[in-house]
């Protein structure tokens, strides 16, 4: 791939001479911020200069950022695409300039895989599946219908779409499991709360809530409690992410199950860069190892949770 070519030509550099440009999506959620922090910290430790730019959730800004990295002549470019599509043009420019590109957190859909060296991140569909699997097992011996409501992420956002898809796939195996309502809570607590309030009014007997991230789940908890019900018992809650507050709620038994989606990509990213720098090759697709948490696991994991 283009990456190797570039690194061979330039040969191994001293780490402190390396300059890496990182184009972040933005800081739209706690998860994202944790992700940014971790990456910055990791490069700090590795003694590699990291140029950071925040695209404020706008693809055009990210493209601009990448362009300016190319102008500034950085050695490597890493970025978390705001959206999968539409990167060919700018990635071609990077390739032309002989700058290897690493994708983090989200993939791009371009046919030409030579445009980037490696993708490092999570598989949202897989996350959805994990969540679905737990639900499937939980209600394996359910006889009467189980009413599920889904709190979707921002409409149109990749994680929202994939997590819904994966989940739907799995639960379809048991026709008792029905998603009776599904609304977007925009990945926020306030959103999750407001939507849940409304759903509780409209649908008297909800058995389970599947939220696309912890924050919406936490919002839902508020709503459920306000309705005089007990989250985790009257209504079970499954979420994705495993940020600190979520884990806390899980430990307290307000959430029943969390699928991890780790923001801690820094370490691995640094590894990739250094490997490339030494002229090595890396896997084109590296999925971060992610687990799932039940209450017990949460309780022991909680103490040493950095984010």
């Amino acid at each position: 791939a283009g990456g190797d070519a570039a690194s061979e030509s330039s040969g191994p550099k001293a780490l402190d001479e390396l300059v890496v440009g990182f184009a972040q999506v933005g800081a739209e959620s706690g998860w994202r911020t944790a992700n940014t922090k971790d990456i910055q910290a990791s490069f700090e430790d590795a003694g590699i200069e990291l140029k950071f730019s925040d695209a404020q959730q706008k693809q055009e800004n990210q493209i601009k950022a990448i362009r300016s990295y190319i102008q500034q002549g950085v050695d490597y470019i890493a970025f978390s695409p705001v959206v999968e599509t539409g990167w060919d043009a700018v990635l071609n420019e990077a390739k032309a300039a002989g700058i290897p590109v690493v994708l983090t957190d989200r993939a791009v859909d371009s046919k030409d895989t030579s445009l980037y060296v490696s993708f490092l991140g999570s598989d949202f569909i897989e996350e959805g599946k994990k969540a679905g699997q737990w639900v499937l097992d939980e209600y394996a011996d359910a006889t009467e219908p189980v009413n599920i409501v889904q709190l979707e992420g921002t409409t149109g956002a990749a994680p929202a779409i994939d997590r819904a898809e994966g989940f739907a796939d799995v639960i379809s195996e048991n026709e008792n499991l029905q998603v009776i309502a599904s609304q977007t809570g925009d990945f926020t607590r306030a959103g999750g709360k407001q939507v849940m309030e409304a759903m509780l009014k409209a649908n008297p007997d909800i058995d389970l809530v599947y939220a696309h991230n912890d924050d919406m789940g936490l919002g839902a908890i508020e709503a459920i409690e306000a309705a005089g019900l007990v989250p985790g018992q009257d209504i079970k809650i499954v979420t994705v992410d495993a940020v600190h507050d979520g884990m806390q709620a899980l430990a307290d038994g307000k959430i029943n199950f969390i699928v991890e989606c780790s923001p801690l990509l820094g370490k691995q990213l640094v590894d990739i860069i250094t490997t490339l720098n030494e002229g090595g090759t890396v896997e084109p697709r590296i999925i971060t190892e992610e687990t799932t948490f039940t209450q017990e696991q949460a309780i022991e994991a909680l103490p040493d949770r950095q984010y």
């Binding site: 800081a27 739209e28 959620s29 706690g30 994202r32 911020t33 944790a34 940014t36 922090k37 979707e152 409409t155 309502a181 599904s182 609304q183 977007t184 925009d186 926020t188 607590r189 306030a190 959103g191 709360k193 407001q194 939507v195 309030e197 409304a198 759903m199 009014k201 409209a202 924050d215 936490l218 919002g219 508020e222 306000a226 309705a227 005089g228 507050d245």
Partner: protein
């Protein structure tokens, strides 16, 4: 209009109007609408006065985020988050800071004479940054019952947020209509030069309205954060400026400034919130939500337009004529 939406709900979901008593407080969709609508309403009240002076304030969302962040940060920092005193201090500081921001806006507009939309756009952008700076991009979760009260608590069976909104609304109405404030604000909005020559102190008024608007934003920010007991610098009050402005305009106040109606704003805010809640209760699929909103807003406006009213009012030939006069008179 509100009525139309209510009917929609009633059909789609009979339980809509049912208000029951759960653990000693009112409970039901209408209560939700009021509670969730409170922050928008509060901001819209401030926005109404700003708009009456031919201005506009885009920074309210950011200010709300800042005040929320400040309040939570202080509560987190304090030894005993649970004590009402701490909360009081936190809220007061938050409001204090927002007042400063309001004065800042007022300064840009009244003293430097920068166009309001740009003047406040600056704070809209930078303000969020500041809020995130305070929270360091994290969501600050506070565990403080008295604070939570402000957002989702109840008092005498009524949501505290609603009570606050009601008080603020009443206060604003009295302040502007019982004193000459309203009239002076309007005159500045209608004809600035004439007002100046009549000795109206436009500068002071501008400072006043922008500061008051920031004050409203601060309170709304506190309620929003207290609602989930967490300060989310990114999302607190995101796009709320649009809702607020929309509420004002639906309420019949012209963005060109001049005559304003707080009552109208109240209706506007309720319409918007009802709309949102309707989407959730009726279960309109997220992908269709926007289209639905578009339809509703369009219908509202067309229903409100004088021409439609005449058409509905009577079928006299001379009606088109009247419209002509209206236009000419303006």
């Amino acid at each position: 209009m509100l009525f139309v939406l209510f009917v929609v709900n009633l059909i789609a979901f009979p339980g809509f109007f049912s208000i029951t008593i759960k653990d000693g407080h009112l409970f039901g969709s209408l209560i939700d609408i009021l509670r969730n609508g409170a922050p928008t309403l509060i901001i819209a009240v401030g926005m109404t006065l700003v708009i009456a002076t031919r201005g506009i304030d885009l920074s309210v969302g950011a200010v709300a985020a800042i005040s929320g962040a400040v309040a939570c940060a202080i509560i987190l920092g304090s030894p005993n988050p649970g004590s009402p005193a701490t909360v009081a201090v936190a809220v007061l500081v938050a409001i204090g800071i927002s007042l400063v921001l309001g004065v800042w806006n007022g300064f840009l507009v009244a003293v430097l004479g920068i166009q309001p939309i740009i003047a406040t756009l600056i704070l809209m952008t930078a303000g969020r940054g500041v809020a995130m700076l305070i929270t360091e991009g994290q969501i600050l979760t506070v565990n403080s019952p008295p604070f939570k009260m402000l957002g989702s608590g109840f008092w005498l069976g009524l949501p505290v947020a609603v009570i606050i909104a009601a008080v603020l609304f009443a206060a604003a109405a009295l302040l502007t209509r019982r004193t000459a404030l309203g009239m002076l604000i309007e005159s500045v909005g209608i004809n600035p030069e004439a007002s100046r020559q009549a000795g109206v102190r436009a500068r002071g008024l501008l400072f006043g309205v922008y500061t008051f608007c920031a004050f409203c934003a601060a309170i709304a920010g506190v309620i929003l954060t207290a609602n989930t007991a967490a300060a989310d610098a990114n999302n607190t009050g995101l796009f709320i400026e649009l809702d607020a402005i929309l509420a004002v305009v639906i309420g019949g106040t012209s963005l060109a400034g001049g005559r304003y109606s707080l009552a109208g704003t109240l209706v506007g805010a309720l319409v918007i919130q009802t709309l949102v809640t309707t989407v959730y209760t009726v279960g309109i699929p997220p992908i269709a939500t926007m289209v639905f909103k578009a339809a509703v807003v369009t219908i509202v406006c067309i229903l409100q337009s004088p021409r439609t009213n005449q058409a509905l009012g009577s079928f006299r030939r001379s009606l088109a004529v009247r419209a002509g006069k209206g236009a000419a008179a303006s």
